[in-house]
Amino acid sequence: MVRRTGLLPAVFVGIVVVYLYAPIAVIVLFSVTTSPRLSMPIEGLTLDWYANAFSNPLMSTALQNSLALALVSAIVSGAFGATLSFGIVALKGGRMRAALLSASLLPAIVPLLVIGISLAVFFRALGLPQGLFNSAVGHIIVSLPFVVLTMNARLETFDFSTLEAARDLGATPYQAFRDITFPMIRPSIIGAALLAAALSLDEFVVTWFNIGNQQTVPVLVWGLMRRGVDPSINAIATLLLVLLVGLVVASNLVNRKKSSA
């Protein structure tokens, strides 16, 4: 009985999982096969495509740019998001809190295309040429809502009376922040910053509109794709995948460790 009733849902779940992960699995698989085309059967395994990808001088520049943007996003988004979130949670309730929360989450709902174009137009009006700086601003806008959301989830349980206790025991507002607030929310900030880095690494739309003639990994891959599917793209995609999964897992681990303590 249990088997029979469980069969249909199991098949359905199987289909969904295949639908979700098959394309990714195919890319990972073909990044290590010898065939230059996406075709079966698999003749042999190789890491040539990885070597090939890195031998492309555009690739190392693109990777450097991507990592630089990810780092800037992590630091700035982490700092802004933490401050914003702390302020929102400290408001306890009321309209101001709801308004600020909505405002900080809005960029997650606005289409990336709109953000990308608006920023491009905005920077042009300011007379700033397209480039990495403009892209960095875009990445921060895109990742901020997610930083605020993860921070909020953690800060809901933050005991604000500990800050009053510190003040009461003789700490100035700065000392209370240094000794109490920051050590307590540090894991949440790091977790949120890692998430911001992950979001920045695979950001394409906003980047494309603002980066000008520079390249990040996603922009480079898009350019390569226009010239036909090259297996080294599979290698790049796989690397990106590993990096992103690594960042997201690390982000979750950092947060979990703290809450179980």
């Binding site: 005991d159 500990t162 009053e164 206790a165 510190a166 003040r167 009461d168 025991l169 700490a171 303590a261």
Partner: protein
Amino acid sequence: MGVSKLFGDTRALEHIDFRVEDGEFVSLLGASGCGKSTLLRILAGFERPTTGTVQIYQQDVTQWPPEKRPTNLVFQRGALFPHMTVRENIGYSLKLRRWTPSRIDARIEEMLALVRLDGLGDRAPSQLSGGQAQRVALARALASEPRVLLLDEPLSALDLKLRQQMQLELRAIQKRLGATFVFVTHDQTEALVMSDRIAIMNNGRIVQYGTPRDIYRRPNSVFVSDFVGATNLLSGVVGSIDGERIVLQTASGAFAAPKGTEQLRKGERAVLSLRPEAVRLHPGTGRTAEGSSVSGNIAEIIFQGNCVRIGTQILPDATIWAELRDDEADGLTPGDPVTLSWAESAAAVMKEEPQ
């Protein structure tokens, strides 16, 4: 010492003016929302009074931030720093005061011994029970030797047995240190057990300020007599006032009581308050020698373990409760005619309050 304050906050507190003597244990007692916590937070420096001043040892500290005040607060839920050990928690205020490490260590040991937590110094707050956490909070607040310790319902989250034990311990610690404690609570028993003086608060005002005995025996208002302990209330009209004695005419007879501090005039509506344990119960309807008496029929008998509460109907709409020892109630059943009596001095007459 003198904490004297006089101010009127929009709604939270109105015209509060009270003084705490050096080394006193004072409780602010009231129902939730009466302003007692606000008052405590004003003393601690977390809130500023709209008008009026706070003075501690003849020094006006109204505009001082919490970290400058010679007061420390024990929070309702401890508010221990979760990322620090018990020792680090207790030593935090001393580190801020730049004590030398060896002095800090010595003081921490002293504090741990005071709250009987020797050996638990290296634990994290999450490894402590509720009672232990509150002891650490107390030790942390006392470490820097504040002149005034403020306590915001620190025992309310503990279970009854532990709470009673902690009440006695807190009281003992306060007497040993000779420090001034201002303790906020909504639990009247707690306030009666621990305090030198109690300030009863209602609607942002202090309605009575006095020793626990005074407040229990001589409540100055219906609110206080009803809030502190159980009481019987009989309303009537002031019949006569002569010297120290006042007579109240009620629907069930005229009863005398000592004249309280309140100014009552002849013919004014007033209420007689009578504690259940002061009421004696005699089977039958005969008159008794003792002061005041009234007859009726037993309506209800409630067994409470250490005592029995008996409600006697003296009028269709009036019941007087008496509290007896269990064995004294043997043989009584509902419906029995009884006579209730009490000493004149056990009753109190006060103004009727508009409800």
